[in-house]
């Protein structure tokens, strides 16, 4: 018997079963036997000419069935066959192009990813808040891995002093908008990716509208007002937030999932202005954001793929000088004003005021 994975949309034919077993030496035989057992199956998969509908992808043991062999593809009795409809509204073509097969080959051959996982990545929409130290490696790795839609929020321009750590930008980009420089770098890395630019400061007025367009948010912001703004917006919109921060030689990362705590549970309030110097004032080791931003990219990919143990309810601490990683626990605070049992913050507030900053201070994406 061959194990057949039935997609959600066809489970009405199999009494809700996600997996059924039928005989068949070839794909053609298998589908005939499926039809006998579950009438309507054939019609759901094949068009009038007897070929697969364009919106159906067929995998045998996680490998996509090629068009050339098609229905004659032989099937072993321990094989697993999966019919996967293309994701509605998903990015990119319905089948992998030969270039995509080659580009993502070493990722697709991972059983935990496979063609199905690669499709999830291509259909995913991730927002990077900031195209700076953390945003650079995070966006570069996500683009390279084939995350189909990458939004970039930033309104800053590239400065020579950014280049020791911000890999998205080069010498030729000095003076350009970071979003535009980022788009060029990411497109060069992977033309599959749809890079969406938000060349504005993230504010209480636009955050819900911008973040609402994405599945996951990667935080690479460099100031407290934006951190609390992004946190609150993600809680209100129930979006996963892949958080990262750094200072001098130390970095930290964690993942906030809806209902499992948020940045305010970890740090209820920002330090008073001046109490915590910024990287601009205190300095930051150039390769440090490479470590933290790459961790954020890995966690984002795990969330999209639904694999592994996410970095949830754990704050990962990195000490570059000791070359040491440690973890401390994060709990959801039932008293949290935004994600607690009785939230008092139910819409976005004035984050510049919340952080005690003068009105004219800019919010950086």
């Amino acid at each position: 018997m061959v194990a057949v994975y039935v997609p959600t949309s066809l489970r009405r034919l199999t009494n809700g079963q996600a997996k059924v077993e039928v005989d068949g030496d070839t794909l053609d035989m298998l589908i005939q036997n499926l039809e006998l057992k579950y009438p309507g199956f054939r019609q759901a998969l094949l068009d009038e000419g007897g070929g697969f509908h364009r919106f159906v992808n067929v995998y045998i043991n996680n490998r996509e069935v090629s068009d050339e062999v098609g229905m004659a593809t032989p099937i072993g009795k321990d094989d697993e066959v999966a019919f996967v409809p293309a994701i509605a509204g998903g990015a990119g073509p319905l089948r992998f192009t030969p270039e995509q097969v080659k580009r993502y080959q070493r990722q697709i051959i991972l059983p935990e990813v496979g063609p199905v996982g690669q499709r999830k990545l291509l259909a995913a929409k991730v927002l990077c808040v900031g195209a700076g130290g953390l945003g650079s490696p995070a966006a570069l790795y996500l683009a390279a891995a084939g995350v189909g839609t990458l939004g970039i929020v930033d309104f800053d321009t590239v400065d020579l002093s950014n280049l020791h750590r911000q890999l998205l930008h080069g010498h030729k980009d000095i003076g350009r908008l970071k979003t535009e420089s980022a788009r060029d770098t990411l497109r060069d890395r992977n033309p599959d990716v749809n890079v969406v630019l938000h060349n504005v400061p993230l504010t209480s007025e636009n955050a819900l509208e911008i973040i609402g367009q994405y599945d996951i948010v990667v935080n690479g912001s460099d100031n407290f007002p934006t951190r609390y703004l992004v946190n609150d917006a993600c809680v209100l919109l129930k979006k996963p937030l892949v958080d990262g921060g750094m200072f001098k030689f130390d970095g930290q990362a964690t993942v906030f999932l809806p209902g499992k705590g948020c940045y305010r549970c970890l740090f209820p309030a920002p330090p008073p202005p001046g109490a915590a110097p910024s990287c601009a004032e205190a300095g930051v080791l150039g390769a440090l954001p490479g470590v933290i931003g790459a961790i954020q990219a890995v966690e984002t990919m795990k969330l999209i793929l639904g694999i592994g143990e996410p970095l949830v309810n754990r704050l990962l601490l990195f000490d570059a000088l000791a070359m040491e990683f440690r973890e401390v626990k994060i709990r959801r605070d039932p008293e949290c004003p935004v994600c607690g049992d009785n939230p008092t913050i139910t819409q976005l507030i004035d984050y510049v005021e919340f952080c005690g900053l003068p009105r004219e201070s800019a919010l950086i994406g």
Binding site: D222, G245, D250, S278, A282, L321
Partner: protein, 92 residues
């Protein structure tokens, strides 16, 4: 064997630049007083006028946040690690 106290970059100048310093005492509060004796001014970097932990500074005994234990009265034993962790905004 005393308690190891991990000092964040932001507070290292208050303890002569050390990343890790030893502290003695049965509770977090006692350990902080012990450090205060050697490095006057250290406590006020962590605590407000009422003696409560500032809201942008977390203290962990091993991997547990003392806000969810017994706050400053959380007991410590020889060999424990006390970590001080202020929030950091850097990312750019």
């Amino acid at each position: 064997m005393p308690v190891q106290v991990r000092v964040p970059p932001l507070l290292r100048e208050a303890v002569g630049g050390a990343r890790v310093i030893e502290g003695h005492g049965d509770t977090v509060d006692a350990v902080l007083w012990d450090i205060e004796r050697r490095h006057p001014g250290f406590r006020q970097r962590l605590l407000d006028e009422e003696g409560a932990l500032r809201r942008f500074v977390n203290v962990y005994v091993n991997d547990e946040d003392i806000r969810y234990l017994n706050k400053l009265a959380t007991p410590v034993r020889d060999g424990d690690t006390v970590s001080i962790l202020p929030s950091v905004a850097g990312g750019g």
